[in-house]
């Protein structure tokens, strides 16, 4: 009977845990404007939440990438993550993960980049 209970526990908990992990462990996919708005509503002292912004690189400048998001709005990306296995070049579609640095000119600080 103990074994049955343990098996039932596993059968219930593993899918439940995986479901909850997917709920709480998948970053929201936003436009840059939405990411800025989310950063603004974050409590003072807390780091802006990590989000995904699907972007197309417009041009590569020293220290930054100028991209457009799904709404075709231009914004700047500072990428400080590991070297990617694809080139970060103009016209490349990339899924950037990071957070917004608000300020006089807001920009997206990405720490992960995935081939879109």
């Amino acid at each position: 009977m103990l074994r049955t209970i343990v098996i039932v526990l596993i059968v219930i908990l593993v899918p439940l845990g995986t479901y909850l992990a997917m709920q709480y462990g998948t970053p929201a996919e936003l436009t840059f404007a939405e990411a800025v708005s989310k950063a603004m509503t974050t409590a003072e002292g807390d780091m802006a939440p990590k989000v995904v912004v699907v972007s197309t690189i417009q041009r590569v400048e020293p220290q930054r990438l100028v991209c457009i998001d799904k709404e075709q709005k231009e914004f700047q990306v500072e990428y400080t993550g590991p070297a990617t296995d694809f080139p970060l070049e103009a016209n490349k579609s990339v899924k950037f993960v990071g957070h917004v640095h608000a300020g006089s000119v807001a920009y997206f600080h990405a720490t992960q980049a995935y081939n879109q």
């Binding site: 009977m1 593993v14 845990g17 003072e44």
Partner: protein, 788 residues
């Protein structure tokens, strides 16, 4: 050079220890003197290496990369010593040393129980991997070796080290990490004894031998984890003690497995059941230590934790992975090889027995461990799937534990009302009714007092039920023998800890307050007055540290707390480090965490972009346009040599006029001293208090203008501090609960250490023969009976 040679010699010694212990194990302990000697030599060698590293740190030998990387001349002695384990290399050395000390200390103990050869073999194997890690992450690497690619030579010795992260400048660093590493090292003991039991086909006696050590490991690791929480609460200023961060979780997971193991070991000790479960859990507890080490040291979780991680390099990464997989493999192979032998003790527990409920309790604790492992590993899983990885939100853990924790508490309480093997129904019902009659009204009372959310009602009812049962049952037992009280004291501590969690989660309040010097501010029944700041630790040139004294009047009593803010060279003074000020209390803590400090805005500072127009704060009809900035070469230096810049401004209908500011530069920081002027045709004074130049697009440059009424005396700005003021009700129960839990462990350790001494010698025990032989001889049931 001696250090580097020593590390390589230690690795060789560990390999020698493993090989000779293995041969001795195969030859019935023949030649055991050699591995015994090697174990001792290895421990002494590690002690010498640790002493050498501490000496190098104290002597400020910055020609060693590790010393340069983590220490500095400014550190006091206790922090210099703590530097020893502040980096990866040093902490690996400390862990290795502690494992070796346990291995040496257990030699005579394991000899007494005829486990010496396998014990030495498995300790040797663990130490082989740990010393190999030291070879990969050698704490004695020279600075010129580490930076040879940058053209650094032996002549280049840095004058000072990079120093210790200011957040670690705290007395707790001298206590917390050594305790945690003692717990990690102690976790290897139950694994080693379990493996020895498997080697010797001694599936029951190892339980009694290993139990005091498993209790010790659980107690020490649990205490270490909570010390970390206390440190975070006292120092980091976010107001909590647990954040489900990967680093916290990585200690919690092996602790949870070990707690489950302690309970299933008790079951086997009394019933001879759960034989395989105990083997699996003993292996799992140790593997989880290795897995957690892999998660937090391999760099794989970098970018998903508030803690910082250093990539250890590919070699160390693969050693860590191999370390974990090797021991998981050894454990799995040994258990699978002996699984048929171990099946002889299999029996079904009756649902009205204590062992049945302890089994369920252990399963629930393991479920918690599994879920925390899943959550902590989530970024790794996402990395493998090439998906964006982020750390799971704390709600993931909270939601699961809202179900699991009350269930564990109730099962714990029910198990204690049961007897081993079988419980008479009347006895069980009587105990439950008494406990429920006390705990349910108390839970209802808490609801009346405002404990109204569903989760806290369920959790508090479960904690009360557990508390009442433990006190009730514990009291009955203690009156007979105090040594039996350990489990009850520990469980009581956990219930008390739960009340602390419920109280802080439900009733803690936090307010964002701006305090101006000398101006009392009323917040939630308290009056806060910022008295003033005081610079401390002036003798250190590498920091500028201030205490902000805040008087708190509450309920007729007055107290002063002093949160701290400081700027350090460690981060080039880019952002301040902060520590909260706390008024400790039994009923509540008053917690003041600083956010920022400055002066009050008496000059109505207003930012304006180049070509932008603003209304002046003192006269809404008066508008000012920032035409452009003037450059230093245009303005020339001030009389005192300071650089000058200016801004050309224009009011709605007047001609242009200029205001000038004087700039003092200190490193990367610039301070502006405006020269006041009056806006033509008005009584509004104006000054330029900042310029933020945008070099790439000068039209985006901004200036900060300040204003005052020139008909009034120049206002003197007072100091201001922004804080988060929190009241933490009954948080003392959290600390009190943990101390009580650890105290209970101490009772249990003493009791089980005494019982372990009474274990019969291996030669007097009927060991489980191979299952194949027993089946062939038809002696299966006989063997079981004899062993039982």
């Amino acid at each position: 050079m001696i250090g580097q040679i020593l590390i390589h010699v230690l690795f060789g010694t560990a390999v020698g220890l493993t090989l000779t212990a293995f041969m001795s194990m195969r030859r019935n302990d023949q030649g055991i003197a050699v591995p015994r000697m090697l174990m001792l030599a290895l421990t002494l060698g590690l002690l010498a290496a640790a002493s050498l590293l501490v000496t190098l740190i104290i002597q400020h030998r910055f020609d060693y990369t590790y010393v340069w990387n983590y220490s500095s001349r400014e550190l006091p002695l206790h922090l210099l010593i703590a530097t020893f384990y502040s980096g990866q290399e040093g902490s690996f050395l400390l862990w290795t040393l502690f494992v070796a000390v346990f291995g040496t200390a257990l030699m005579s103990y394991s000899r007494r129980h005829q486990y010496e050869a396998p014990t030495l073999f498995f300790f040797g194997l663990i130490l082989t991997f740990l010393t190999l890690l030291l070879v990969a992450k050698n704490p004695f690497a020279y600075y010129y070796e580490s930076f040879a690619a940058s053209g650094i030579t032996t002549a280049d010795v840095p004058p000072n080290g990079k120093g210790l992260n200011p957040l670690l400048h705290n007395g707790w660093i001298t206590i917390h990490p050594p305790i945690l590493f003692t717990g990690f090292a102690a976790m290897s003991v139950s694994f080693v004894f379990a493996m020895a039991g498997l080697v010797k086909r001694d599936y029951h006696r190892w339980i009694s031998i290993a139990l005091p050590w498993t209790l010790l490991a659980t107690a020490v690791l649990g205490f270490g984890i909570m010390l970390g929480g206390f440190w975070a609460y006292e120092t980091l200023g976010w107001g909590g003690f647990w954040g489900w961060d990967p680093v916290e979780n990585s200690s919690l997971i092996p602790w949870l497995v070990s707690v489950a193991l302690v309970h299933t070991m008790m079951v086997q000790k009394r019933t001879h059941g759960l034989v395989k479960t105990n083997m699996v859990l003993a292996v799992a507890a140790f593997i989880m230590v290795l897995y957690s080490t892999f998660l937090t040291r391999s760099g794989i979780l970098g970018d998903t934790s508030v803690h910082s991680f250093v990539d250890p390099g590919k070699f160390a990464f693969w050693i860590l992975l191999l370390f974990m997989l090797t021991f998981a493999g050894i454990g799995a192979v040994m258990i699978l090889k002996r699984r048929k032998d171990m099946n002889i003790s299999r029996e079904n527990f009756k649902p009205d027995s204590r062992e049945f409920l302890l089994g369920i309790g252990a399963a629930l604790i393991m479920a918690s461990a599994l879920m925390v492992t899943l959550g902590t590993s989530w970024p790794v899983l996402m990395e493998l799937l090439k998906q964006p990885k982020i750390a799971l939100a704390t709600d993931f853990y909270n939601r699961l534990h809202i179900i699991l924790v009350p269930a564990i508490l109730v099962v714990n309480a029910l198990s204690l009302t049961m007897q081993w093997r079988h419980t008479p129904r009347k006895l069980f019902v009587r105990r439950i009714v008494i406990a429920a009659a006390i705990s349910i009204p108390l839970a209802a009372l808490l609801m009346v007092l405002g404990n109204s959310t569903a989760w806290s009602v369920v959790l508090s009812a479960a904690a009360l039920f557990s508390l009442v049962v433990n006190v009730m049952m514990g009291w009955t037992l203690v009156s007979r023998s105090a040594s039996m009280a350990g489990a009850y004291i520990s469980h009581t501590g956990i219930a008390v800890l739960m009340f602390g969690i419920i109280a802080t989660a439900n009733y803690a309040e936090q307010h964002h307050v701006v305090l101006t010097q000398g101006v009392p501010v009323s917040v939630d029944g308290s009056t806060l007055t910022y008295v003033g700041s005081e610079q401390v630790e002036r003798h250190f040139a590498d920091r500028e540290k201030y205490k902000f004294h805040i008087k708190i009047e509450r309920g007729g009593s007055t107290t002063t707390v002093s949160p701290v803010m400081y700027w350090s060279d460690y981060n080039q003074r880019q952002s301040p480090f902060m520590e909260p000020g706390i008024r400790w209390g039994l009923q509540n803590d008053l917690y003041v965490a600083p956010n920022s400090a400055g002066t009050e805005d008496v000059f109505h500072a207003t930012t304006v972009q180049r070509s932008g127009t603003i209304q002046t704060p003192l006269d809404s009809n008066l508008r000012v346009t920032l035409v452009r900035f003037t450059m230093p070469m245009e303005e020339g230096p001030a009389d005192d040599g300071r650089m000058r810049m200016g801004a050309i401004l224009k009011t709605g209908d007047s001609s242009e006029f200029k205001i000038v500011t004087q700039i003092t530069q200190s490193g990367a920081n610039m301070s502006f001293d405006p020269i006041w002027d009056t806006i033509p045709g008005s009584t509004v004074g104006i000054g330029l208090s900042n310029i933020r130049r945008n070099n790439e697009d000068p039209t985006q440059s901004t200036g900060e203008l300040v204003f005052r009424d020139v008909t009034k005396p120049m206002p003197v700005p007072r100091e201001q501090i922004t804080v988060d003021f929190g009241i933490k009700p009954w948080i003392s129960l959290v600390w009190f609960g943990v101390i009580t839990m650890v105290l209970g462990f101490v009772f249990s350790i003493v009791r089980h250490a005494r019982l372990a001494k009474q274990q019969p010698a291996l030669s007097d025990v009927q060991l489980a023969p191979s299952a194949d032989v027993k089946i062939a001889d038809g002696k299966l049931s006989d063997a079981h009976t004899k062993q039982s």
